[in-house]
């Protein structure tokens, strides 16, 4: 249009040129959309046509297990703290063998925005997002997942990592000095070097 400000600021432009340019610009716009009419739509017909999602796409959250099949989650509250929509809640408690475990662990998927911050915050690789995004329910209460619904029987991405082999605290997995990269416990009562 001839009222275009940027063009008005150029005094050299002749009004005729301006009108010609405007019409040319408009014409190219209409030509572009007209050409689109003839292109094949890019829409994928979701339920019939399913795309294979990348392995690291972020959807339904699971709780993975250690290589020895035990719960990885130590209920450290980091995921619930970082969750921007507060959809994760839990209660930590002392578990068998001196481990710290979640007494209950709840994710409200009706609130979850699949941002993946929980996965990023998780120090034990317990909480992981899977590509399974088809997670709808008729009853909203069914979107509230408890620990049993979340637990899977594999280790997910870091399937060889076991937090309690590195932690340095005594559990039934490893005692003092038995963890990765640890010296045997010292004798504090000795003054010998």
């Amino acid at each position: 249009m001839s009222s275009d400000r940027t063009k008005k600021t150029k005094p050299a432009d002749h009004p005729g040129t301006l009108i010609a340019e405007s019409i040319k610009a408009l014409g190219s716009g209409f030509a572009t959309t007209a050409k689109h009419l003839l292109r094949r739509p890019v829409t994928e017909q979701y339920p019939e046509q399913k795309r294979v999602l990348p392995e690291r796409s972020r959807a339904r959250i699971v709780l993975t297990r250690d290589p020895d099949g035990r719960e990885r989650c130590v209920a450290c509250y980091l995921c619930s703290a970082v969750c921007p929509v507060s959809c994760i809640s839990m209660q930590s408690t002392g578990g068998e063998g001196g481990r710290r475990v979640a007494a209950w662990f709840r994710i409200n998927f009706s609130r979850c925005i699949y941002c993946g911050l929980c996965e990023e915050a998780c120090p034990t690789s317990a909480i992981q997002l899977t590509p399974d995004f088809e997670n709808c329910r008729q009853d909203i209460l069914e979107m509230v997942f408890e620990k049993d619904d979340l637990l899977v029987d594999h280790g997910g991405r870091d399937d060889r990592y076991c937090f309690y082999r590195h932690a340095g605290i005594a559990t039934d997995t490893a005692g003092k000095g038995e963890h990765v990269n640890e010296q045997p416990p010292v004798d504090a009562k000795s003054n010998l070097p």
Binding site: S92, R99, H166, I169, P184, V186
Partner: protein, 818 residues
């Protein structure tokens, strides 16, 4: 004032201020691990390094180790200093384990904060980590030595500040170890402070272990109600449950610390046994219905037998609002009471202690730390008012003389001069001490004071101890800030008044003397100021026997505190026993109408501490059964409901208003205003406006020496764990309770032909106390110590020191046969 420049900011501080404090004043928080305002500086952690640009010591210096100088220029952001601190953090982390996710300190960990702010993320050291074996330190504290960064805060607190020696430092070089010689329960009743003091997770809280993170807790400023000192605390709640109580800083009272009773005494509030619904004649009912029924029965009885046939009973754990309700509705309705304390002796002792507290001689715990002579009379600080012991210890560390006159073998974390005296001797001993402590005739004294001084000089106790008392008095002559601390439970009724008079006398001489009462119950001072001496448990007992009292309303009180046992036959005489309490007590179970009340965590409340300081506890959560108990521990209910289960209990003052048919919509403010002066002017955070001088100041006791020969004075001993009615419900503290044994001096035991471990029954007139004998060396002769612990029927002797004849003590077999 000294002027210096820190990070281009002009700071003005008093001489002797450390640079780290000066910076804090200017709003610059220099990192620190080992430095703690209460524990001082040792320069162990090296993380408070700053660059001194101008001053007598230029270069990288530890800001906690240097004092501010005039014209000093300091930079905390200097490149070299920052690099130094970053280096320090990295090497402190060299052996730190990889366990933050399972460490309860995570989220409130100084080391974590510093590591993150120092930018240290990956361990570069190619050496394996040093490890330590942990110790089991009892039911309160968890030990995890791997996390230690050798700041020495724990031992500095435990050994130097608190004065206990079973935790120490061992090893050398990279193997420095903080712990006990071997596994075992920490002996100090202040061990819980290790958790607050430790900058990382070496010492963490065991009862709240794995219960949650700092950021998930609702933190509410509150006050500890487990003794009369009124220490400031922070209450952490989550999911309708108190999870943890921490010390809150109060420079005038508790400083940075609290005792373990205050820290771990809270589980009564979320106990599964706690009654949460009302009962009428043993049948569960709604609270409104029960209030109606109780009010109906009370007014019926008042109509039939006169309004004086309804009596109220209270204890030191009711808050000021409830006390106001008791006073207001009691006087409006013509009800008797409130009755508190077991009998005339304890009631009078409390009354004389509270009414003698006057402006000039009233002092705070902080003032005790600054005093140079402390006389503890008939009080056992560690067991009756634990933080007082720490204050006395700080004074002792500064060189004060501490003397202790008591019948019991009082254990203190300091060395004190001891006088083992029977309760009946205490008044005379005090006066004799005062007679010696005042140097001359006291020309500056008023006539009344001079009269009291004369009575003091005439006072005699016992030739065997008179000389010791005289020595003590002479030692006190030079003191500038003498303090008399007086208890109320193991003393003669006139002892607190005498103690206050002694302090007055020393103050009249021109010294900064102080009187500090140790009272039974968080709000005992208010009860003493508001109540009448005549309304005590023995008077109530008499009225019950005569049939004058037909209905009894018991408000947040254990009947044992009034000298009744739960199955006392006299209670059968009552037409209505109405109990309002937050605890599951025997009286509550026996009550015709039981009405549940809220705890201080839900209702909040105002309390007046022993030093006349008004303390406010804010409501920490709205009440209701903890989520963990509602859901059966699995997970919280999945369905939403707007009402809170178990939220029936009301604040006690609202219950009282409803009983007086005033409706529950009564404002706490108007209730406080209903109290007599000075309580009606109580403003939270301030001290009560005490009278300038008590009416019966310098009144010499009528008959100071009333030593009874041939009998034993029975003293009920408080214990830090197990005596106080709220905290004794905490499972973690029950593990620490002492075995209940009757204490006897070896001389008395020999005279009575009793030996340790032997079981005896003592007839106290009102009841029989039965228990095993323990020989206690340091106690006074002629005294029988009865612990106020479960397993002993101590309430028969609840009314202060009473005398039993030797004939009343007989040996029994363990099965109870004579």
């Amino acid at each position: 004032m000294i002027k210096l420049i820190i990070d281009n900011l002009r700071v003005e501080v008093p001489p002797g201020t450390r640079v780290i404090d000066a910076a804090e004043q200017a709003g610059i928080m220099i990192p620190r691990f080992c430095y703690h305002p209460a524990l001082g500086a040792v320069g162990a952690c090296r993380v408070c390094a700053v660059q001194v640009l101008e001053g007598s010591c230029r270069g990288i210096r530890m800001s906690c180790m240097i004092e501010a100088e005039e014209g000093m220029v300091i930079s905390t952001t200097d490149e070299e200093a920052v690099a130094f601190r970053r280096q320090v953090i990295e090497w402190l982390m060299a052996n730190h384990p990889h366990d933050c996710p399972v460490c309860d300190e995570g989220g409130q960990c100084l080391l974590q904060d510093m590591t993150v702010s120092g930018g240290h993320g990956r361990r570069r050291l190619p050496v394996k980590k040093r490890t330590h074996i942990d110790q089991h330190l009892g039911p309160l504290v968890v030990h995890e030595m791997n996390r230690c960064i050798q700041c020495y805060r724990c031992v500095r607190f435990y050994r130097e500040y608190a004065g206990y020696t079973d935790l120490g430092v061992m090893g050398s070089a990279g193997r420095v170890y903080f712990g006990r010689r071997s596994d075992g329960v920490l002996e100090s009743p202040f061990a819980g402070n290790l958790i607050d003091v430790c900058p990382t997770g070496v010492f963490t809280d065991r009862p709240s272990r794995f219960k949650g993170r700092y950021w998930d807790f609702e933190r509410t400023p509150s006050v500890c109600i487990h003794c009369s000192l009124g220490c400031r605390v922070t209450v952490n709640t989550r999911y309708r449950e108190v999870v943890r109580v921490e010390a809150a800083h109060d420079p005038q009272v508790n400083g940075w610390f609290i005792c373990d009773r205050g820290r771990y005494g809270f589980p009564y509030a979320s106990s599964p046994q706690r009654p949460r619904s009302a009962r009428i004649d043993g049948r569960k009912s709604g609270v409104d219905e029960a209030l109606d029924e109780a009010a109906r029965r009370l007014s019926g009885i008042a109509q039939r037998h006169g309004s004086g046939s309804v009596a109220l009973a209270a204890s030191g754990r009711v808050c000021l609002e409830t006390l106001g309700a008791l006073t207001r509705f009691g006087s409006e309705k013509g009800w008797r009471g409130p009755f508190f304390r077991a009998g005339p002796r304890t009631a009078e002792a409390l009354q004389s202690a509270s009414k003698n507290l006057e402006e000039k001689i009233s002092i705070s715990l902080k003032d005790i730390e600054k005093s140079d002579f402390i006389l503890l009379v008939g009080c056992d600080p560690v067991n009756e008012a634990p933080m007082l012991a720490l204050s006395v210890r700080q004074a002792r560390r500064r060189g004060a003389v501490v003397a202790l006159a008591d019948a019991r073998s009082v254990q203190l974390p300091l060395d004190a001069r001891r006088l083992a005296l029977r309760p009946s001797q205490l008044t005379a001993a005090l006066m004799r001490f005062a007679g010696k402590a005042v140097a001359d005739g006291g020309a500056a004294l008023s006539d009344r004071a001079r009269g009291f001084l004369q009575a003091c000089r005439d006072s005699r106790v016992d030739p065997a101890v008179d000389e010791q008392i005289d020595h003590l008095g002479l030692a006190a002559r030079e003191s500038r800030r003498p303090v008399v601390v007086c208890g109320t439970s193991a003393v003669a009724p006139d002892t607190p008044a005498a103690a206050a008079n002694v302090a007055r006398l020393l103050a009249a001489e021109g010294r900064k003397a102080g009187f500090f009462p140790v009272l039974p119950g968080a709000n005992a001072l208010a009860l003493g100021l508001a109540g009448r001496t005549a309304d005590h448990g023995a008077a109530l007992r008499e009225a019950l026997e005569k049939g004058d009292v037909r209905a009894l309303v018991v408000v947040e009180t254990n009947l044992s505190e009034l000298g009744f046992s739960a199955d006392d036959p006299l209670l059968e005489n009552l037409e209505a026993l109405v109990v309002c309490d937050c605890l599951d007590s025997a009286a509550g179970r026996a009550a015709r109408v039981f009405i549940p009340t809220q705890t201080v965590f839900e209702a909040g409340g105002t309390f007046v501490s022993a030093e006349a300081r008004v303390r406010e506890a804010r409501p920490a959560f709205r009440g209701g059964t903890p989520v963990a108990q509602v859901s059966g521990g699995g997970h919280p209910p999945r369905t939403f409901s707007p009402d809170i289960p178990g939220a029936d209990p009301l604040p006690a003052w609202q219950v009282l208003a409803a009983l007086a048919r005033e409706g529950t919509r009564v404002s706490a403010d108007t209730l406080r205003k209903a109290l007599p002066a000075p309580l009606c002017g109580a403003a939270p955070g301030k001290r009560l406006a005490l009278p300038a001088s008590a009416p019966d100041a310098f009144q010499p006791p009528e008959d100071p020496a009333t030593a009874a020969d041939g009998g034993l004075e029975v003293v009920v001993c408080e214990h830090i764990f197990g005596s106080e009615p709220l905290s004794r419900r905490a499972a973690c503290l029950q593990e620490l309770e002492s075995a209940p044994r009757l204490g006897l001096h070896p001389g008395d035991a020999a005279a009575l032909q009793l030996s340790a471990g032997q079981r005896v029954a003592v007839d106290c007139g009102r009841g029989v106390i039965e228990g095993e004998i323990e020989i206690v060396n340091e106690m006074a002769r002629g005294v029988l110590l009865v612990p106020r612990l479960r397993g002993i029927d101590w309430h028969a002797a609840a009314d202060g020191p009473l005398v039993v004849a030797v004939a009343d003590i007989r040996s029994v077999k363990p099965n109870g046969e004579s």
